[in-house]
Symmetry: none
Subunit: 414 residues, 2 copies
């Protein structure tokens, strides 16, 4: 079945806060077989709320609202929804008792605003909120259900988990949705689409949907299917994932929620290998990516960020003549940087990068975006020249992922 | 004037990604006097797009859409919008040329999907996208404007900043909104609010709004005022900024869009000073932050990421007895790391960090989140112990900003 989410709040519309509630709610609803078909963020006034709620109710039988409740709001949301459902407002002693308990427990005193919160629509079902003073409200009429919750994330989450989801599962017979996410690196969205075109076409007959979710240097492929039999759906998706794996084996680094840096670390850890980096234009981002994973100390010794050429010479042992004859941005230099950092950091493998990240500093022979990457060990060094854009941060980010993947490919032998 | 934003994409509706585009767009639009009154996230199909766009166009004269473009999409968005505005589709050579250039430059080959991307609605204005293959599209009819952009954040941001916003400012006469953003570092939002409480109260009589925009370790304070006379509004805000400056001088590092890393670099550059870092638990993030600024090579020599204790000893010259007696996470160790990296990198100043970023690895005496920071030169070293959370990435990020600010304060003498 379908659902709509309405987020009430001016803070989101001025860009002051990002709406993270809707994504979390959509995930929870997906698990119980409910698809969110629209999310509306509207202003905290009667007209805007009415317009958004009417639209949502016209599209389906299940609507969620968050926000517009709580002691500092003017109760516009509550009154508007009560009017819409034709419910009168009345003082509700149990709600008042809970508010009184929550407020006085913390040694604070009840304000008029708190008391006004105990005015509730008659006819709703109350959804207990142990995290705050505003309860959730279950409005129901003519087969349509609207669930109103506060916008504070942990209050909304409490009500969803403990109250709303169990009641929805009991009331509506929902379908089951299953997902598999295949994580790729090192190839663009369109090239992957080309390789797996036939596979993608074949998904339609099983009603499986494929989504491409690209990020800098990486693409996530998500397969989704809806049905009644969880075991059958899982089996179907497992077969499809195996097929996908056979088509693009070298680009897949993991599944589900694994990060690329985790997968990279796992390869080193499982082989008992160590790594170090020598970075010029990436300025430490490769090291930061590696060390963003807890336990990186098992396989990461350290890095030399050699921005100044003297550091390349003095710390990494790059030959001054190499820099003079070929320049800092050259295959020869990154080769010597790998050799140098292998010695300094005493690791099995090393990554080296030198380039012109931009937006300034290019020459006709070496334009902005020219970046040399080398990976290797004491026996073999692989090199690659990237020609990227003028966007400094994007160049640094893309190169960092490329370099990690370049080494990953060498280690796993592809 | 008002605007509506439509985010097209199933990924958001299943909660796989969070919509950060809308908040960013709302902020940018606010700055030029445009209020976003509704955000709709809809499915990537013709009917849903039509329904959302029709609703948005009925509410105002300016609508933005993001998403639903790109080489692997079925061009549903483009075709749907073209139909809605009554524009036919036709092959567009300049778009094709740009796509061809972007793809072949990276040594990749053009696919059919790329070629299909060059089919564009006739009658739109093309909004250049230097960050990707799908251009922005400016649809206009009967005084209504719809701007369609790809959903990839850096592509959308490029089009907004370089194309959409300048064209909107030229076309629509908007009320004048003036802003001043005061950038602070090193103090929390609630403490700042306490210090400037009287100042904040005094803003109401001039209809000036104050927004707190916190980020890890930093808070931006934005003053906004709306009116008709730009000169008068500017003068009013200038007076307020001066008052704010007098209240919290030591926390302000800049104004407007300056990043903290830029301000940090400016302090070094203007004083002709150089810096290096010796990082353990921050793993290169401080170096990455410094080198995220173009021209950092003027004041940054390099870093030693000394994750392994042997690197602290062999490269930085930390005394093995110091590590043995006090541990790697100690005041003594970070002091010696500063001295060591000053020598290795031959800089005027250095930053050193050693700590337990977490979530594992703590002891009763040194719990997770214990991080020692040292900054200094050959004459003086300042040290500070941070006690942070168990959140690894947050600890790394907070410490990196703290360390840069710690050195900044030393250099400017506060």
């Amino acid at each position: 079945m379908n659902a709509q989410i309405i987020t009430i709040g001016d803070e989101i519309l001025i860009g002051q806060i990002i709406d993270t509630n809707s994504a979390w709610m959509a995930q929870q609803l997906n698990v119980v077989g409910i698809s969110v078909t629209e999310i509306i963020t509207c202003k905290d006034d009667r007209e805007s709320i009415l317009s958004a709620v009417n639209r949502a109710l016209s599209q389906g039988d299940l609507v969620f609202t968050t926000g517009g409740l709580g002691p500092t709001k003017d109760d516009i949301t509550k009154k508007t929804l009560a009017d819409l459902f034709g419910f009168p407002m009345a003082f509700h002693q149990p709600t008042y008792d809970i508010i009184e308990y929550l407020i006085t427990r913390h040694g604070r005193t009840l304000t008029e605003a708190h008391k006004a919160q105990a005015l509730m629509p008659v006819g709703i079902q109350h959804l207990e909120n142990q995290m705050g003073t505003a309860p959730g409200m279950w409005f129901e009429k003519d087969g349509k259900v609207l669930i109103s919750m506060p916008g504070v994330p942990y209050e909304m989450k409490y009500i969803m988990e403990h109250q709303a989801i169990p009641k929805i599962k009991a009331k509506f017979k929902t379908k089951i949705i299953r997902h598999r996410t295949v994580l790729t690196v090192g190839q663009g969205e369109s090239k992957i689409a080309e390789i797996i075109a036939d596979f993608e076409d074949s998904l339609a007959k099983d009603n499986i949907k494929l989504a491409y979710l690209p990020n800098i240097g990486k693409v996530r492929l998500r397969l989704s299917v809806t049905g009644d039999d969880a075991t059958a759906l899982d089996a179907l998706l497992d077969v499809k994932v195996e097929k996908l794996k056979a088509l693009i084996p070298e680009y897949i680094f993991g599944y589900g929620k694994t990060s690329f840096e985790e997968a990279f670390g796992e390869i080193l850890k499982s082989r008992n290998l160590t790594v170090a980096t020598a970075e010029s234009c990436t300025g430490g981002l490769i090291a930061h990516k590696i060390t963003s994973i807890s336990g990186a100390s098992h396989y990461f010794h350290g890095s030399v960020i050699a921005y100044d050429n003297r550091i390349k010479i003095n710390v990494l042992g790059v030959n001054p003549m190499t820099l003079k004859n070929h320049g800092a941005v050259s295959e020869q230099t990154v080769r010597e940087m790998v050799q140098g950092v292998l010695n300094v950091m005493e690791t099995d493998y090393a990554i080296a990068v030198s380039g012109i990240a931009g937006p300034n500093g290019g020459t006709p022979e070496k334009p902005v975006g020219t970046i040399w990457v080398a990976v290797g060990n004491h026996k073999e060094i692989r090199t690659h020249k990237l020609l990227l854009s003028k966007d400094r941060l994007k160049n640094i980010q893309y190169t960092s992922t490329f370099a990690l993947n370049f080494l990953r490919r060498m280690i796993i032998g592809i």
